[in-house]
C-alpha cells in the first residue's frame, strides 16, 4: 500500500507559568525589548458599533481563580467582518479583532475593551449570533482550550445560532453567555466541575 504524505501536527505542550515572558513581556516587567505587547488594544475611539468592556476570570475545578492564565480573543467588527484575512474584504480599520490578556497576578481577573461584534455568516448562508472566540492557555493546560463568548442580551440571535444548536445539553449553554453588568459584560470561564464551560474541538 502507498503511504500518505501528510506530516503530523507538532504536539502541544503547556504554556507554563511564565508564558507572560514570551507573550506579554511588558506586563511582566520585561521592558525595553518590545515597545508594546501585542493584543493589548482592540479598538480605536473611532471604531464603529457599541463599545463594550468585558471582565472575567478563569476558575479551576476547586473554585480557585487561575492567576497565571493567558486568554486570547478573536472577533469580527460590528458588521461581522474579520480583520486581516477575511475573504469577503476589509474590516473596520478601527478594530483589530485580536486581544491577548493575562490575569491579574493577585486576583486572576482580566478586562478588555472592544466593540460588540456583528453576526458572521455560515457557509450555507445562515447567521451566527454575535460571539467572541476565546483561547485559554496556562500552567496545567496541556493544549489550549477553545471556547466562545456569546451575549446574554442577544436572545433572538442566540436562539438561531447554529453552533449553540449543536450543544446537546441545553443546560450548559448559559456557560457561554457574557452577562450584562454596569455598562459592560462579565464572562467567567470554569475549567472543571459545576457549570463547567463548554469547550470546543474546532
Amino acid at each position: 500500500m502507498q503511504t500518505l504524505p501528510y506530516l503530523k501536527e507538532t504536539a502541544s505542550q503547556t504554556a507554563g507559568p511564565y508564558v507572560h515572558i514570551g507573550c506579554v513581556p511588558n506586563v511582566c516587567g520585561i521592558t525595553g525589548v518590545y515597545p508594546d505587547d501585542l493584543g493589548q488594544v482592540m479598538r480605536t475611539d473611532q471604531a464603529k458599533g457599541p463599545h463594550i468592556t468585558v471582565t472575567g476570570c478563569v476558575w479551576d475545578g476547586t473554585g480557585t481563580p487561575l492567576r497565571d492564565a493567558m486568554i486570547e480573543v478573536w472577533q469580527a467588527d460590528a458588521n461581522g467582518v474579520y480583520p486581516g484575512n477575511d475573504p469577503r474584504g476589509p474590516a473596520d480599520p478601527g478594530v483589530s479583532g485580536f486581544g491577548r490578556f493575562a490575569g491579574d497576578p493577585e486576583t486572576g481577573e482580566w478586562t478588555f475593551d472592544t466593540v460588540k461584534p456583528g453576526r458572521v455568516p455560515m457557509p450555507d448562508g445562515g447567521l451566527q449570533a454575535p460571539h467572541v472566540t476565546v483561547w485559554i492557555v496556562a500552567r496545567g493546560i496541556n493544549i489550549g482550550l477553545h471556547t466562545r463568548m456569546y451575549f446574554a442580551d442577544e436572545e433572538e440571535a442566540n436562539a438561531e445560532d447554529p453552533i449553540l444548536a449543536r450543544i446537546e445539553h441545553k443546560n450548559r449553554i448559559p456557560t457561554l453567555m457574557a452577562v450584562p453588568q454596569d455598562g459592560g459584560y462579565r464572562f467567567d470561564i470554569r475549567l472543571q466541575g459545576d457549570n463547567e464551560t463548554v469547550f470546543f474541538d474546532v
Partner: protein, 241 residues
C-alpha cells in the same frame, strides 16, 4: 486564509487534558467532552501580523535585553527551521514567539524563586515572522534545566517555549522545543503528557553542524507543523444555491 477547511486535529496525538503525573493538570482539565463543529469563518480567519511590528533585535536574545556592548552569558546557539502545515507546505508570515530561562535555568519573572541568578544581560523573549517559504531563525543562549515543585525531585529538561500563529485561529499552537541527547527529556512529567514516543521525538531539535557559525555559535534545527487544509474538491452545497 487559503482554500479548503482545516484537517481535524488528531487529539490522540496531542497530550490529553487530564495527566495526573503533571499535577497542576488535575484541577485544570475539563471533565466533559469537547463539543465538535466544522470550522466557520470565526475559526478559519486569524490575526495577521505585519513585519513592521518587529524590531531589529527581536530575534536576537543575546542582545535584545543586553546593555550596549554586552551580551548574555551561556552557550551561544542559533535555532532555525520552518513552519509547515500537514501537507508539507511552508507557512509564510507566521508569527513565531519564543521564551526561555537563562543559561542557569532562571526565568526573568516575578513568581520565579529559583536560587540560580538572573543574567543582567538576558531577558528571555524573542519573536520573528516566517519568510515566504516558512523559514525562521533566531539566536540565543542554550537554556539550563531547572527544578520545579511537582514530584519531590523533578527537573525540566532544557527547553524553549514556542507560540505560533498560522493563517487561522484554529491553527493556534503553543509547544516546547527540547535539545538532542538531553537525558532529562525522558524523565519529565510534562514531556510524558504526550502519549507517543514518536510525537515526543518531533519536539527534540537535533544539533545541526551545517548551520553553525564556526568560532561563534552552534545551531539546532526545529521544524514546526501546523494543521493542514483540505483542497476544495467537491463542495457540499444545497441544490440550487
Amino acid at each position: 486564509m487559503s482554500d479548503g477547511p482545516l484537517f481535524s486535529r488528531e487529539r490522540t496525538w496531542h497530550p490529553p487534558a487530564f495527566t495526573p503525573g503533571y499535577k497542576t493538570s488535575v484541577t485544570r482539565a475539563p471533565s466533559r467532552a469537547l463539543v465538535s463543529f466544522p470550522p466557520t469563518l470565526s475559526e478559519e480567519t486569524g490575526p495577521v501580523f505585519d513585519h513592521d511590528v518587529l524590531g531589529p533585535l527581536d530575534n536576537d536574545l543575546l542582545h535584545n535585553f543586553a546593555a550596549p556592548g554586552e551580551s548574555a552569558i551561556g552557550q551561544r546557539i542559533i535555532v532555525h527551521g520552518r513552519v509547515l502545515d500537514e501537507t508539507g507546505r511552508g507557512v509564510p508570515n507566521a508569527l513565531v514567539e519564543f521564551w526561555q530561562a537563562n543559561a542557569g535555568g532562571r526565568y526573568r519573572h516575578k513568581k520565579e524563586g529559583y536560587l540560580a541568578p538572573l543574567d543582567p544581560n538576558f531577558g528571555g523573549c524573542g519573536r520573528t515572522i516566517t519568510s515566504e517559504d516558512g523559514s525562521y531563525h533566531f539566536r540565543t543562549v542554550k537554556p539550563g534545566p531547572y527544578p520545579w515543585p511537582n514530584g519531590g525531585n523533578d527537573w525540566r529538561p532544557a527547553h524553549i517555549h514556542f507560540s505560533v500563529f498560522g493563517a487561522s485561529f484554529a491553527q493556534r499552537l503553543i509547544t516546547q522545543m527540547y535539545f538532542e541527547g538531553d537525558p532529562l527529556i525522558w524523565r519529565c512529567p510534562i514531556v510524558a503528557t504526550i502519549p507517543s514516543r514518536e510525537a515526543v521525538e518531533q519536539l527534540i531539535a537535533p544539533l545541526d553542524m551545517n548551520a553553525t557559525i564556526p568560532m561563534d555559535s552552534r545551531a539546532y534545527k526545529f521544524d514546526i507543523v501546523l494543521r493542514g487544509r483540505r483542497a476544495t474538491l467537491f463542495e457540499n452545497r444545497p441544490e440550487g444555491t
